[in-house]
């Protein structure tokens, strides 16, 4: 199977007494190494879709395959391990741990993998910090950095375990346009160099246009699905 993410017939309904259906029979396949953009209005269900792909949320019905494994039937610990090893997250709000330094934040997914940090891995972390241009501030506490620096730290963090997939929910949502450009170029470079699959939610049409494929979500359904050839 070529696709690293595969959704079939995914429905999501919130609430028990008052039911709100957010996703309707979504079928979606994302192929390995592709760079995908998801666009759509607020409340269209795009974040819910991303959270289901990221196994943070469960579909009400339908099947979700990540890297060939069916996730909608896994238990919490299996999902945690899958997320840790296969998926890197970049959120709109960086979600760094303010108690730890930038460098420690980058290493955190590796710590969670229950691995000891050796010199090889430290070198890799330094390399990633270099890649996102943060060598100088890596020992700052995450709380003491600018928004752009925090977001770039989050990107480095998402890469530390060499995940197959990176899911990003408006990764540049609170950055200025200059920094946005830098961050996207960076993601593109990573996509090209490491063959990492990207699924990125964005509001920014200019950014969306730089992706290989644009999926537009409207009212919980895939409205358009355009691929660059």
């Amino acid at each position: 199977m070529d696709s690293v993410i595969n959704l079939s017939g995914v429905n999501k309904i919130y609430g028990t007494s008052v039911k709100t259906q957010v996703l309707f029979d979504v079928d979606l396949a994302i192929s390995q190494g592709s760079f995908n953009g998801i666009i759509g209005e607020s409340g269209s269900g795009k974040s819910t879709l991303l959270n289901i792909v990221g196994t943070l949320d469960k579909p009400t019905s339908g099947e979700v395959y990540i890297n060939g494994n069916r996730t909608d039937q896994m238990n919490k610990n299996q999902l945690a391990m899958l997320r840790n090893e296969t998926i890197g997250f970049i959120f709109q709000f960086h979600y760094l741990l303010p108690e730890f330094t930038a460098f420690e934040n980058v290493l955190m997914p590796y710590y969670i993998k229950n691995k000891k940090i050796d010199t090889k891995l430290e070198a890799r972390a330094h390399e990633l910090m270099e890649l996102v241009g943060l060598s100088k501030v890596k020992n700052n506490l995450a709380g003491n950095m600018s928004g752009g620096q925090q977001q770039r730290t989050a990107i480095a963090r998402s890469l530390i375990n060499n995940p197959k997939i990176i899911l990003a929910d408006e990764p540049t949502g609170n950055l200025d346009s200059g920094t946005t450009e830098v961050v996207y170029d960076l993601l593109r470079d990573i996509n090209r160099d490491l063959n990492t699959t990207f699924v990125i939610i964005t509001h920014d049409r200019r950014i969306a246009e730089k992706t290989d494929r644009i999926i537009e979500i409207k009212d919980g359904r895939i409205f358009t699905d355009l691929s660059r050839t």
């Binding site: 919490k76 610990n77 945690a80 899958l82 997320r83 997250f89 741990l97 108690e99 955190m108 963090r157």
Partner: protein, 387 residues
């Protein structure tokens, strides 16, 4: 586990004020526990010491009242050889008599001891207020009140009349104060040989053997054992517990109430820590959500809070021991009798203090179980959705 510890430590060090506050909260509870416990124990030890510290704890008496024990020396030898628990032992010959003072007679109790041995029980060396307790032939020492009431002087000689009517002369060489009015008013102490002369006993006879043992609270068990193994059929073994039942029940009541106070202090410490830690779960829910999104499993996330509890317990325990000892120290320095001695001599029991430290750790670990469970239930999506 290492990661959980690392995160726990970082959470605690990143909010130092809050950590200090919780640790001090635990410390205050534990210090009160140590203080109350040591105070009551000190009170009991001093009370016990005053009651039985200078008295016979086990007494070998004749089976039939007012008859002499014939093989005093044999029994004494057998006891010292058989029981290592015995810390002091003295044969004694006790008889009532009358001291002739001018035209009056005063009823007295003559107690003949092996003075060097008896000194270990009665501490005459410390009790002597005037004169000496090293006695030569027909020399005796008297209770201070007996001397004062009858205006008796050191160096004077008086006659003692036995119930049989024999008269012997006694020379007073010292006064003692054993802090018990009835003793101070009636006792005359001399050597056991002098007593045998006066009361016409043979050289192997006496009326009792008095002992002290290393664990006074085991006196009842030990007397039972002695009764079973003794080959002497005309003697019985009495212990202080039977004779001081009221004191014992008083001590028990005190121990129980002290324990109750300590238990409630610990319960309030547990509740305090539990509620504060439960709040920190809320405080850190964002961080936990992020960690879980990155793949932290529920077990590790709950260990973060258990470790926080343990670390806070250790911190609070150490601080609590320091506070507690400080409190005890200041109590012995500021709560004083008019003569400068502490109102209650504090008894520092290192085992108890160590136990209190352990209780601090156990209590705060216990208190962290609820927040640890809560952190398990936290789902990353809640944090991600709510920003």
């Amino acid at each position: 586990m290492r990661l959980a510890f690392k995160i726990a430590l970082r959470f605690l060090t990143s909010s130092k004020g809050q950590t200090a506050l919780i640790a001090i909260g635990i410390a205050v509870g534990i210090s009160v526990q140590i203080f109350i416990g040591s105070l009551i124990e000190g009170l009991q030890v001093s009370l016990l010491d005053a009651t039985i510290g200078s008295a016979s704890q086990i007494t070998v008496n004749p089976e039939e009242k007012n008859t002499p024990i014939d093989d005093l020396q044999d029994i004494e030898n057998w006891l010292t050889e058989t029981y290592d628990e015995i810390t002091a032992i003295t044969p004694t010959l006790t008889q009532g008599g009358f001291l002739k003072i001018g035209d009056n007679t005063e009823q007295v109790v003559f107690r003949g001891f092996d003075l060097n041995k008896a000194n270990e029980i009665y501490k005459f060396d410390a009790a002597i207020t005037e004169g000496t307790y090293t006695l030569k032939e027909n020399e005796v020492i008297l209770g201070v009140d007996l001397a004062k009431n009858n205006n008796l002087k050191i160096g004077e000689t008086y006659d003692i009349i036995t119930p049989e009517g024999t008269i012997s002369a006694l020379k007073i060489v010292g006064f003692f104060d054993l802090k018990v009015a009835s003793i101070n008013q009636s006792w005359i102490i001399g050597s056991i040989d002098l007593a045998r002369d006066i009361f016409d006993f043979s050289s192997s006879q006496g009326t009792a053997i008095e002992l002290q043992i290393s664990e006074p609270f085991d006196a009842d068990l030990l007397t039972e054992e002695m009764t079973l193994t003794s080959t002497q059929k005309d003697v019985k073994f009495d212990n202080w517990k039977v004779q001081n039942e009221q004191l014992l029940s008083g001590l028990n009541g005190q121990s129980t109430s002290s324990l109750m106070i300590q238990v409630f202090v610990v319960i309030s410490v547990v509740l305090g820590i539990a509620s504060v830690l439960a709040i920190t779960v809320l405080q850190k829910s964002r961080q936990l959500g992020i960690l879980k999104a990155m793949g932290l499993n529920d077990r590790t996330s709950s260990f973060v809070f258990l470790f926080q509890g343990i670390i806070l317990g250790i911190l609070g325990g150490i601080l609590g021991i320091i506070f507690g000892l400080g409190l005890l120290w200041s109590f012995t320095k500021f709560a004083l009798n008019p003569d400068g001695t502490p109102v209650v001599p504090i008894f520092v029991n290192y085992g108890f203090i160590g136990l209190s430290g352990l209780i601090a750790v156990a209590a705060s670990t216990l208190a962290s179980i609820i927040p640890a469970q809560k952190s398990k239930k936290l789902s990353p999506i809640e944090v991600i959705k709510n920003g």
